[in-house]
Amino acid sequence: MIRIENLVKTYGAVRALDGLSLNVESGVVYGFLGPNGAGKTTSMRILSGLARPDSGRAWILDKEIGRPGSDVRALIGVLPEEPAFYGWMTPREYLRDFIAPLYHIHGQVAARRADELLEIVGLKDAANRRIGGFSRGMRQRMGLAQALVHQPPVLLLDEPVSALDPAGRKEVLELIETLRGKTTILLSTHILADVDRVCDMVGIIARGRLIVQARRDDLLARYVTPLFEIEAGDGFGNWLEWVEKQDFVTNVTVSNQTARVLVKDVHQAQKPLLESLARETLSVRRFEMVQPSLEDVFLRLTGKEA
């Protein structure tokens, strides 16, 4: 459905994409994950026809992007990271009189579709207000509505919920879930919880390259690494320095008095960890082996790449 082969894109000295390749199957919600500056937006811009790669090729529904006579734009709906609108228009006007006719949807059909979408994205009550007065969250909902006007087979969503409050985020993610199976969605985000919630497939990108691509559950299974969570009442003192230097430890993160220690082998690590904690006389409240989350996999992979 979406195929990218070896895309390279540079901006001056910055190599935004460095041989990116990926494959998105039909009907899946594909989480395009990466830290800021990884190349997600550049990829989206190339797929939308707004930018050209220096080299490499990309296809949507077997149509090659950028090839003369092969315009994919009627097949895709695009939501940029910061959707922009004409402030003097109302949402209803924008969808019914401007966007819908661009896809050859006119008259009553356009009016019905506009109202339906405004209802879906929760902007029905603001249908006749000027977009100029909208909050960022409202603009993002509006952006989603305009991407869905022509019921495209492919949706490219760049950080679709980043500007929304928790309730709005939940609603939009639920809406994305309803499109699963009918629409192929490439969803770029740096919020792992969103990917965990709605995505079937995950591609992790860093420094313009795809590090890994797999079904979400396969990814967790493949990269499942034993992880210890240790909670200490009075902090960790010098123990953190010691643990980071150990060969059996691959990554350590600390937040809210809890250290998460990724290890290569649980049996090899368990004993020295417990001994070291006892040696440092830390007030340990909890010592637990837990299942790693997608976030741990992401941090591990992007950390390794960096």
């Binding site: 026809g49 006719p101 661009l102």
Partner: protein, 252 residues
């Protein structure tokens, strides 16, 4: 698709008051020109303590003064207005991000430029129409009827002349990534055209000559400026082609 883009442009010009302000200024220009031509000499004569005999040297205004005022005011305000109307139209879309939203949809980039150009030219034509009608009416009341055919031919020449500035400003806007650069480009184009128009011999071929030709037509002179008309049309076409080609290749 072109119709949708065109409708949006007209609606935008109307809803953001640009079209109304544009037409109002042209209307005022059309009214004020014959009035100024008629009453400026009388105002001068009414200045207290005017040196003896000077009043006799102030000529009685004629219809030629009305036409000259009209040409001068329409030219000056017209150039300023078309540049202000047009210089931001493309750069603003790029700067605000609306261009990226639009161009991710199945629209031709050249169509976007042409819709903006056609909108600007239509508003300019409407402006000259209200300007001309007002001038015709006030000249009729204050002086005598103007030769109808010659007057509107003069306005058509003004339309082409001002169209050059409008197209150059639009091209500057499509080449620029920000409104500030677009404004600099538009006024830079204006300065270049004005300098070329003031050079001996070269001026005969520059668009400014169209206003002189128009005035001559109304006042039954024998001046023509066909080369200037050709150059003006050439500048418009060339500027449009540059704008379209550049925008087709631009990354948004």
């Amino acid at each position: 698709m072109f119709q949708t883009l065109l409708a949006k442009e007209f609606r935008e010009q109307w809803r953001t008051w640009k079209m109304i302000v544009f037409l109002a200024v042209f209307l005022i220009t059309g009214i004020v020109s014959p009035v100024l031509a008629k009453y400026t000499p009388e105002l001068l004569k009414s200045i207290p303590n005017l040196p003896a005999g000077l009043a006799e040297f102030i000529p009685t205004p004629t219809v030629a003064d009305s036409v000259a005022q009209y040409l001068k005011n329409t030219e000056q305000f017209g150039i300023l207005l078309v540049i202000l109307l047009t210089m931001g139209v493309m750069a603003q879309e790029k700067e605000r991000g609306t261009a990226a939203m639009l161009l991710a949809k199945p629209v031709s980039r050249s169509a976007v430029i042409l819709a903006k150009w056609l909108t600007g030219m239509t508003i300019l034509l409407a402006g000259l129409l209200v300007d001309g009608l007002a001038c015709l009416a006030y000249t009729l009341v204050l002086f005598e009827p103007l030769p109808f055919g010659a007057f509107w031919t003069m306005n058509l020449l003004l339309f082409v002349y001002l169209g050059v500035y409008l197209t150059v400003a639009l091209t500057a806007s499509s080449l620029a990534r920000s409104q500030a650069i677009a404004a600099a480009g538009a006024f830079g184009g204006l300065i270049v055209l004005l300098i070329l128009g003031s050079l001996p011999r070269v001026s005969d071929y520059m668009p400014g000559q169209l206003a002189t030709w128009g005035g001559s037509l109304v006042l039954k002179g024998d001046l023509t400026a066909w080369p200037a008309l050709g150059v003006a049309a050439g500048i418009i076409v060339l500027a449009l082609v540059i704008a379209c080609l550049r925008f087709e290749r631009e990354e948004i």
